[in-house]
Symmetry: C2
Subunit: 534 residues, 2 copies
Amino acid sequence: MESSKTPSEMSRRQFLGTVGKLGGGAAVFSVMGTLGLLSPETLKAADYEPPDKNELSMSGRGGKKIVILGAGIAGMTAAYELGQAGFDCTILEARARSGGRIWSVRRGTTVAEIGGAKQVARFSDGMYLNAGPMRIPQFHVTMEYIRKFGIPIEPFNNVNDHAYYYNENVGELSGKKVRKREAKADVRGYVSELMAKAVNQNALDMPLTADEKEKLVAYLRSEGGLDADLFYKGSSRGGYKDEPGARLDAGVIRDPFSMKAILNSGFGNYLSSEYSYDQQMMMFHPVGGIDAIPMAFEKRLKGKIRFHSEVSEIKQSEKGVAVTYRNLATGEYQNVEGDYCICTIPLPVLKKIKADFSPDMKNAIESVGYASAGKIGLQFKRRFWEEDEQIYGGNTLTNMDISSIYYPPTGYMQKKGLLLGYYAFGGNADKLGGMTFQEREAHALNQGAKIHPQYHKEFEASFSVDWKKIKYNEGGWVGYSGDQRKTVYPTLCKPDRRVYLAGEHISYVTAWMAGGIESARAVVTDISQRVMKE
Amino acid sequence: MESSKTPSEMSRRQFLGTVGKLGGGAAVFSVMGTLGLLSPETLKAADYEPPDKNELSMSGRGGKKIVILGAGIAGMTAAYELGQAGFDCTILEARARSGGRIWSVRRGTTVAEIGGAKQVARFSDGMYLNAGPMRIPQFHVTMEYIRKFGIPIEPFNNVNDHAYYYNENVGELSGKKVRKREAKADVRGYVSELMAKAVNQNALDMPLTADEKEKLVAYLRSEGGLDADLFYKGSSRGGYKDEPGARLDAGVIRDPFSMKAILNSGFGNYLSSEYSYDQQMMMFHPVGGIDAIPMAFEKRLKGKIRFHSEVSEIKQSEKGVAVTYRNLATGEYQNVEGDYCICTIPLPVLKKIKADFSPDMKNAIESVGYASAGKIGLQFKRRFWEEDEQIYGGNTLTNMDISSIYYPPTGYMQKKGLLLGYYAFGGNADKLGGMTFQEREAHALNQGAKIHPQYHKEFEASFSVDWKKIKYNEGGWVGYSGDQRKTVYPTLCKPDRRVYLAGEHISYVTAWMAGGIESARAVVTDISQRVMKE
């Protein structure tokens, strides 16, 4: 079986657990393997084997106390899975809500960014901004919990050829909003034409037979929408300047942009944004807000989460871990002790918390940077993108600061709508994050209005988030630089005596909920195995 | 304005109607035009101006009787729009239901194909097969009625990179199911590599500056996922053989297929199926079955549809049209008269109905062929494509007879599921259509099981449709051959005295509901203008 696990890691017990989870006994599993149904994703999904509650309790090792820091998806996954196995978990959460970065901003949501003024969401009821994660690839482990908890989902429209590309300072097509289908048809058309002709003229040095060259040309004709003579002269793929209709209205295909214009536009470089592994269709999201996921966990963790509990110190002894936290409601400092601790606090926050970690661990925690990321939700009176422009979900990409506009993948044809006025990273996120929230709103409206002139007339309310300035997060997601995956990262992956780190930062699925879940499951397995060896 | 309409066709009154429909008076319209919001789709959507009820009634021309043949989307659109303008419409419909090809097969649906045995759908409650149309491009006029009637919609997953390509007799990759992302990554990778190197070596004769060549290479690197030296060595876009996970589990990217293998596989030719204008994302469909659309029309046409009414003769006089029909419930022949008649009966059926059409019209009706198309719905006990293979909607394409498998774009994570076991055209449809429905089921299961070995174990029930053999349709959609669009088609587009044809066949949006709607609106406009001139 294809797996990075060593044989000793994939024990017989794990194997049988896997079989059980696949739902039909060893025979089915064996058949599945034979028939090639054990894809990397299936194997990954079956990778985790929950601890055996009976084994733990019968050996007198049940009920161990685990203190979990942070009620984000990693902390709650750990608490949920450990709870199933009979562990006694307590989660400390500084906020009044669970979810961490999994956060749906709704009417009344209030936040003051670090160094910023207080912002209150004045969205209409039912409108929400998924300020953090907003989409789930269909093959992520996150879908397992959605299935288990019965969370209603709907597609997240990550691809929409009716949305736009809009770039400035790119020559002829500067400041022109172009439907994605136009750019895609032209780029693929011209490049396929060039290539097909070169192949036909044997201008390329290729180890192909004549028959294979013919196949290559056939592919290029199909890929580019070329005519019989291998010319790209535009095609209906790029749309029409007069739509076809009834009777004699055959429609008139748009005139393609020139090869030079489309090449200089930079639009071609946007195409591959749809190709990356975890951005490919189909993607999904919970109906009504991404916070349905933490809410479903929270419901199953009744009484285990202490909210308003801001961790101030982590202290280990031979026999356990003691965590001091400030009760933000009363201002009092309190303590909680456990046999083990799972710390899911993002590293920029953790590094400021007093802890008796080893020097290596301290150094590792301090050295890792986090990504800049920012979003603004803009509520409009009217879904003009649907009504006027027939865009239902998907995104528009631009080289302006706002980087992208995401149209709501939900509530189609409702009266009002809330779109992402920007979802920016890196330098753009820093620039926008450096503004007051009023300035961000104005900037998002002004730049967005170049694409959607309806913006100013229809605008109602905004709410923006700069993740670098959000207390208890201070960053969008981890960003290991240079060779940090080889130097400091392995230290973060190992327990520091009785403290285990978990979160998207302890995974290779960074920035995704799945990373948090996978890392939590790894810790659950480790702790339960360690307890059995005690 | 870009339009194929001549100035006289786009009158001032039409223009103002257009303004009104765009919702904000002439000023808004003017602003929209200036700002470039009048896209071809917007203009097309605004193309239709409903007849003016007041104008008709005040001039004593209201209440004209219109006999409409067929309660499909064209007939019902005509009746709805004419009804709004005060016309007195009667629809004759041979079936017990409205919708025509817009047909959701559910538990208990019964049909005997022409020359075939009776088939009864034994699907579970809530399961359905959209036997005809199943998806709607976001920019089609169909969306206007969905909006107007408040029909709940959800995305139709037309693109899914986690589904498969599967071909036989194509060399090395024969009989191997390959995730679409694998084929896409490899095809784009190798072709981009070849092209990038050729550009770099100036092997291509291109009218580009050095700077533009650099941009072209940058695009190819991005498009193909090439490394710094412009080699394609596989990439995460194609997926992993070991998925990345927690801690040190960085994942192992799959090994790409060889260029020869992927070229010979024919998979590359499947890519462009996602590019065609009316297949591009996003697409939508009504929640709960496509028949929500005809049901919404029917609800607004209470008492106007005579079901079980099979047209047997169309006869015109100087002053009107008389239609004879057989009441299939009683067996009696009955008559209905009107000032005008709109005939939406598909041509293969119409040509067998006695009618005093002109010789030209008769010849036109008789000469046009229709497309072969067939579908089978397969209900399974378990959504193994989701549970085992993480495929949520989208389709798998194959060169076997079954052509494609469409996974349900609805009801995700429910227990049972109904997929399209085939959606075949042309020769494949004829081959499958030539079988008994038991043979079709066996064939769909046997071929499908090569891709999904779970088929046989999980199968519960099927229902298949060969549109060539469906009474009152006798074909999937119109297929004008050779120069028929220039020879016979214009005759079909003109009224034959007092009879107007409508339907997808009287449009350039054939095979789509939008074609039926557009053609019906054209007739509505014509009849109301003709009545005003009487």
